[in-house]
């Protein structure tokens, strides 16, 4: 930035190259993202679907599609499903990650093999979510290895039908999300903790603060920006939850649609060629994503402002 300001005068004649180098990005973005997005929004105001082989519409119907979606009640249910499964995965994820990050960055603990553990816990993040889901489906099926292990060790007498209980299926999905993301969160939080001035910890120790006090009064407040970032990205990612529940339940969202997420709902409308409803649903998901992101961001940065004053 500094170099740029100093040499501002010299750069003026080259400014057209800035635009030239931006052409590929904006051209491709315009064609493959912006136009589709605008047309999705446009379709949301039309009655347009396939009835057998016959195409109905497109006829302009105003906000009828939105009213239909909101009146059906499915939308609310699927939003709740998505958020419940996100929270079930996120709460243990943030708790474990905070603990691990605190341990790894603790100078007095001096844990050995930190690199090895970090490598292991990050690994599930790179696994194909659909394949992991298929693997869990096989491992946790009624006569799969997990049920056999549980029965052999005498914990249960009959196989537990994970896939026919809401808690079982939601639990499995949350567990996979936890497994895939806690390593990533740990590494991000570690980076945040290592950015804190060690002199603060030393001063607190000299003053006789306990490690819990140090954690809650120094580490947590200074970690707010990175926690905000982790929470927002996780929430946006959580709202896009698709691969894992889709494969685990074969797109049905069973049992009794308790694991059907918003994007699975959208996917169903797309596959059934309900273009109007799919469009309206896309707009609603867009609004929910935006509102929640802003909400989380505001609440966390707002608290930070109060803390600074006090």
């Amino acid at each position: 930035m500094k170099a740029l300001n100093v040499k501002k005068g010299k750069h003026v004649s080259y400014s057209k190259w800035g635009y030239i180098f931006l052409i590929p990005f904006f051209l491709v973005y315009g064609v493959f993202s912006l136009i589709p997005m605008i047309s999705t929004f446009y379709y949301s105001f039309f009655e347009n679907y396939m009835s057998g082989l016959k195409m109905i519409g497109p006829t302009f119907v105003g906000i009828d599609n939105y009213i239909k979606l909101l009146n059906q009640g499915d939308l609310l249910k699927y939003t709740q499903n998505t958020l419940i499964m996100w929270i079930l995965g996120f709460v243990p994820q943030i708790a474990v990650s905070l603990l691990l990050a605190a341990w790894f960055t603790n100078i007095r603990l001096k844990l050995r093999c930190a690199g090895f553990f970090k490598t292991i816990i990050y690994m599930p993040n790179l696994i194909m979510a659909s394949a992991l889901s298929m693997l869990f489906f096989a491992l946790f099926s009624n006569n799969g290895p997990i049920n056999m292990l549980l029965m052999d060790s005498g914990i249960i007498d009959e196989p537990f039908h994970f896939m026919s209980s809401a808690i079982g299926a939601r639990g499995l999905i949350a567990m996979m999300n936890f497994l895939m993301w806690f390593g990533n969160t740990t590494i991000l939080l570690m980076a945040g903790m290592m950015g804190i001035d060690p002199a603060l910890f030393e001063a607190a120790e000299v003053d006789g603060a306990t490690s819990f006090q140090i954690f809650s009064k120094i580490t947590m407040p200074l970690l707010k920006p990175i926690l905000t970032y982790v929470m927002i990205t996780s929430l946006i990612g959580g709202l896009q939850m698709f691969d894992i529940p889709q494969i685990l339940t074969n797109g049905i969202g069973g049992p009794d649609r308790t694991t059907m997420t918003l994007i699975m709902y959208l996917n169903n409308h797309l596959f059934n060629n309900n273009y109007g409803l799919a469009g309206a649903l896309s707009v609603i998901i867009f609004i929910i994503t935006g509102a929640l992101s802003i909400g989380v961001f505001k609440s966390l940065t707002g608290q930070k402002g109060q803390g600074d004053k006090g």
């Binding site: 930035m1 040499k7 080259y14 400014s15 190259w17 800035g18 635009y19 180098f21 931006l22 590929p24 990005f25 491709v28 064609v31 493959f32 993202s33 136009i35 589709p36 047309s39 999705t40 379709y43 691990l100 341990w103 603990l109 844990l111 490598t119 292991i120 990050y122 690994m123 790179l126 696994i127 194909m128 979510a129 659909s130 394949a131 992991l132 693997l135 096989a138 491992l139 099926s141 290895p145 056999m148 052999d152 390593g183 991000l188 570690m190 980076a191 200074l222 927002i232 709202l239 698709f242 691969d243 494969i247 074969n250 994007i263 959208l266 797309l270 273009y275 998901i285 867009f286 992101s293």
Partner: protein
């Protein structure tokens, strides 16, 4: 004084022990699904039905041959398709993201700030919400069952751009660009011959992440690809899930999952140092 420090040392050791136990437990939780996968991929269908074993069987080669011979589920074809799409995607996204980041980093122009903020804004928009328009566009362009709609959009990759921009701010001094200009290098050549080589560490990190993201991608390909010979790996996984599970050879099933997961694990174990470091580079600076 001495006694006190001895007591705190003891407490520290107890705490250390608890940490190690917790870490080992987490390691077991992380690795056990993949261990079970590996074991079951080496066992025959009948053995898998009988119960779980901690030790590998001797059916690895047979399972592999069965999977390769399977004429309905073209896993090898799927792997090659995934490999092709992922490789081309990575090359495009890495090169053009660096180019976009360079435009904003090195040049001063009127819309510079606007362009930067615009890309940051679109970074948080989920791609799924434009899926309807995307499918309609691809159908209109007659590109269904083609890899082009999966590959070309990679040129506009906001997250990859952001990473490159962050990296340039810390490690690309503009004096070098100035020097190249004085030596008579034109802007395009400067970017290709001087800037790109300096970006190697960032390019490597993004190449790994980009490859993995594309290899694992399920949502978009499922909307575009329908023909068996075009399907990528995640689509075959979905196909296996939708098939009648009771009639399936479980040995083959585990082998197919293994073939989708283990290539990435191997790449990861070889390059884990770069990857774990790379995770933090692209995020906000605490």
């Amino acid at each position: 004084m001495k006694k006190d420090s001895g007591g705190s040392l003891f407490r520290l050791n107890i705490k250390r022990l608890i940490c190690y136990i917790a870490l080992i437990a987490l390691t077991i939780i992380c690795l056990s699904p993949f261990y079970m996968l590996l074991i079951n991929a080496t066992r025959a269908h009948v053995d898998i039905q009988k119960g779980f074993s901690l030790y590998p069987g001797n059916y690895l080669i047979k399972n592999l041959i069965n999977v390769l011979d399977n004429s309905t589920i073209l896993i090898v074809r799927g792997m090659l398709n995934s490999l092709f799409v992922s490789t081309t995607t990575v090359v495009l996204s890495v090169y053009f993201s660096a180019m976009t980041a360079y435009a904003i980093h090195a040049y001063d122009f009127k819309l510079r700030k606007f362009a930067f903020n615009f890309i940051l804004l679109i970074m948080t928009i989920p791609t799924q919400i434009s899926a309807l328009g995307f499918v309609k566009l691809v159908t209109a362009m007659n590109l269904k069952d083609s890899f082009i709609p999966l590959i070309v959009p990679a040129i506009a990759a906001p997250a990859c751009f952001f990473f490159m921009k962050q990296y340039m701010e810390s490690s690309l001094p503009l004096e070098i660009v100035e020097a190249a200009r004085i030596d008579g290098s034109n802007e395009f050549r400067t970017f290709n011959r001087i800037v790109m080589p300096m970006m190697k560490p960032a390019l490597a990190v993004q190449a790994i992440f980009g490859f993995v993201a594309s290899w694992n991608n399920y949502f978009t390909p499922s909307l575009i690809l329908t023909k068996a010979e075009k399907k990528t790996l995640p689509l075959w996984i979905a196909y296996i899930r939708s098939a009648d599970f009771t009639k399936f050879d479980m040995g083959q099933l585990y082998m197919m999952i293994a073939l989708s997961i283990f290539p990435v694990i191997i790449i990861y174990l070889v390059l884990s140092k770069f990857i774990v470091q790379g995770v933090t580079l692209g995020s906000v600076k605490g």
